[in-house]
């Protein structure tokens, strides 16, 4: 078994797959508020990303077990799917944010302690390795169900690596 396959079998995404793809570059670079990235490559009986999406950007599932498919034109970066997804598999990345070196990520967060706006935090990759420092821009609770959506400014080159944050004390 290849190293990539081993990692994938243990819950680490190593390359694009059905249900886990990168948004189209052109649109992504100009879309204010960002576009969704979903990493949900396994067929599981679940669809709140679709039912919670106000614009229909997450397309209707033919079968509830399908992997999510996205119509990026329709995505407004609102992050409702980020807040509701039980798999914490939805993220929004806004490449129009700030200067040329940074981007804004909207990440689901359910740990304590919560960071505060303005805090510097560790940005972790899919293996939990700290790959950069990020700055917390905003923390919101979109669905009133305790899952926070943390907006964090990160190095633009790492948006396809960073998947969560760790509060540093």
């Amino acid at each position: 078994m290849s190293e990539n396959e081993k990692l994938f079998n243990g819950g680490v995404l190593t390359e694009a797959r059905k249900g886990a793809i990168e948004p189209p570059k052109d649109l992504w670079e100009r879309k204010k508020n960002g576009l969704v990235i979903i990493e949900c490559p396994q067929r599981i009986p679940c669809n709140p990303c679709h039912t919670s999406c106000p614009t229909g950007a997450v397309k209707a599932f033919k079968d509830i077990n399908d992997q999510p498919e996205i119509d990026y034109e329709k995505c407004t970066g609102c992050a409702r799917c980020v807040a509701i997804c039980p798999g914490l598999a939805c993220f929004v990345v806004d490449l129009t944010w700030g200067g040329n070196d940074v981007a804004l990520m909207k990440l689901p967060y359910e740990m304590l302690p919560l960071p505060e706006e303005g805090d510097t935090v560790d940005c972790l990759n899919r293996l939990g390795e700290a790959v950069a420092k990020g700055k917390i821009v905003k923390i919101a609770e979109l669905m009133n169900d305790r899952t926070k959506v943390v907006q964090v400014e990160v190095p633009r080159s790492l948006v396809m690596n960073i998947r969560t944050i760790r509060v540093v004390k």
Partner: protein, 366 residues
């Protein structure tokens, strides 16, 4: 001797749904549960559930339980509830069930129809020193943490990367407990990939193809030795020593079905459903004409499926008692059967369907 039309044993998602459905069609129901509170496994689940909107996907497990209890409140005239009350035996001669409230108050109850929704029991793993304090089942860890608000320890080795192992690991981390690692015998996690991804990104290692060789410690757990295994599950690789004060076992559940055995229901061993289960028809009736099953007691699955199975059993029972009109019953059954088929369309569901083929008959019904 007490009498009831329908006795539901077990007040988890399956039993609650069965009771609600039967009552909504006009049955008088008695519901007993050994626990102090209704809700079964749901009250321990602080994470959001999968499923579709109908099964309340995206909602946390304990919230789903609250919703069911609210619905139950609307039927207080039709459903009599006894908590802290365990059904202990079935008497074949007259179909009487004996129950004990707390530890000494017994009563006997005769029901026209019974729904068995007793859920599941945890499996444990034999390994040297697994008797040490600090070795827990995942259910106990969850109860301590999420029902009583007590952290079981500081650093945990989780054994098993099925959904329970993955989810309990995540919940432990939310409670501020460190996960030293997750040990899994297969070469792939058994639970949902997204649940694993959540904990991997927080730096928790998952040791695939590894097993726990022994616990370390004299009086209490100080850690464990884990080791890689080969295709024949024999330990071969290098040993790794991990420090921890808790070893948590999440190596699977098996249906709780003692009363079904007592009642003489035809039982079949179905590995895909994780143990012996009762043979049943499409409406969840067993080979015994007065006994239905639903939920994990009928095969280990999920709360979403347990709720729908409970609903199906509820309609089945009402139908057999002549409650509700035929077209309403048929409409509901069609709806529920469609929903459950949808839920079982995925990778995990396929395995369940294989198992169900072995233990489901096409006729019987009423």
């Amino acid at each position: 001797m007490r009498q009831t039309e329908v006795l539901v044993i077990g007040g988890g998602p399956a039993g609650l749904s069965a009771a609600l459905e039967a009552a909504s069609l006009g049955c008088d129901v008695t519901l007993v549960d050994s626990d102090l509170a209704l809700g079964g496994q749901l009250i321990k689940q602080t994470h959001k559930f999968f499923g579709s909107k109908e099964e309340r996907a995206g909602t946390r497990g304990f919230k789903i339980s609250e919703m069911l209890l609210e619905e139950l409140h609307g039927y207080k005239d039709k459903i009599k509830v006894h908590t802290n009350c365990t059904a202990t035996g079935y008497y074949k001669e007259d179909g009487v069930i004996s129950c004990v409230i707390g530890e000494e108050k017994y009563f006997r109850i005769q029901a026209k129809k019974i729904v068995m929704a007793t859920g599941a029991q945890e499996r444990l793993l034999p390994f040297p020193k697994n008797h040490l304090p600090g070795v827990y089942g995942a259910g106990a860890v969850q109860t301590l943490m999420n029902v009583y608000g007590v952290a079981p320890g500081e650093k945990v080795i989780m054994v098993g990367a099925g959904n329970i192992g993955l989810i309990v690991s995540y919940q432990l981390m939310q409670a501020g407990v460190e996960i030293a690692g997750i040990v899994e015998a297969m070469d792939k996690i058994g639970g949902y990939w997204v649940h694993a991804a959540k904990i991997r990104r927080m730096g928790v290692p998952i040791y695939l193809r590894h097993t726990i060789k022994e616990a370390i410690g004299d009086q209490i757990v100080k850690g464990a030795v884990i080791q890689e295994i080969n295709d024949k599950f024999q330990p071969t690789g290098t040993e790794i020593k991990i420090d921890a004060d808790i070893i948590c076992m999440a190596v699977g559940l098996t249906p709780t079905c003692e009363i079904l055995w007592q009642a003489g229901c035809k039982m079949i061993y179905v590995p895909q459903l994780c143990g012996h289960v009762a043979q049943r028809d499409m409406n969840m009736r067993t080979s015994h004409p007065d006994i239905w099953v639903a939920g994990d007691a009928a095969g280990i699955e999920e709360a979403s499926a347990a709720m729908v199975e409970g609903r199906i059993a509820g309609v089945g029972v009402a139908k057999s008692l002549g409650h509700g009109n035929a077209s309403e019953q048929a409409k509901r059954l069609e709806d529920y059967k469609g929903r459950i088929a949808d839920l079982r369309g995925g990778e995990v569901g396929q395995k369940i369907c294989q198992g169900l083929k072995v233990c489901t008959v096409n006729q019987w019904e009423v």
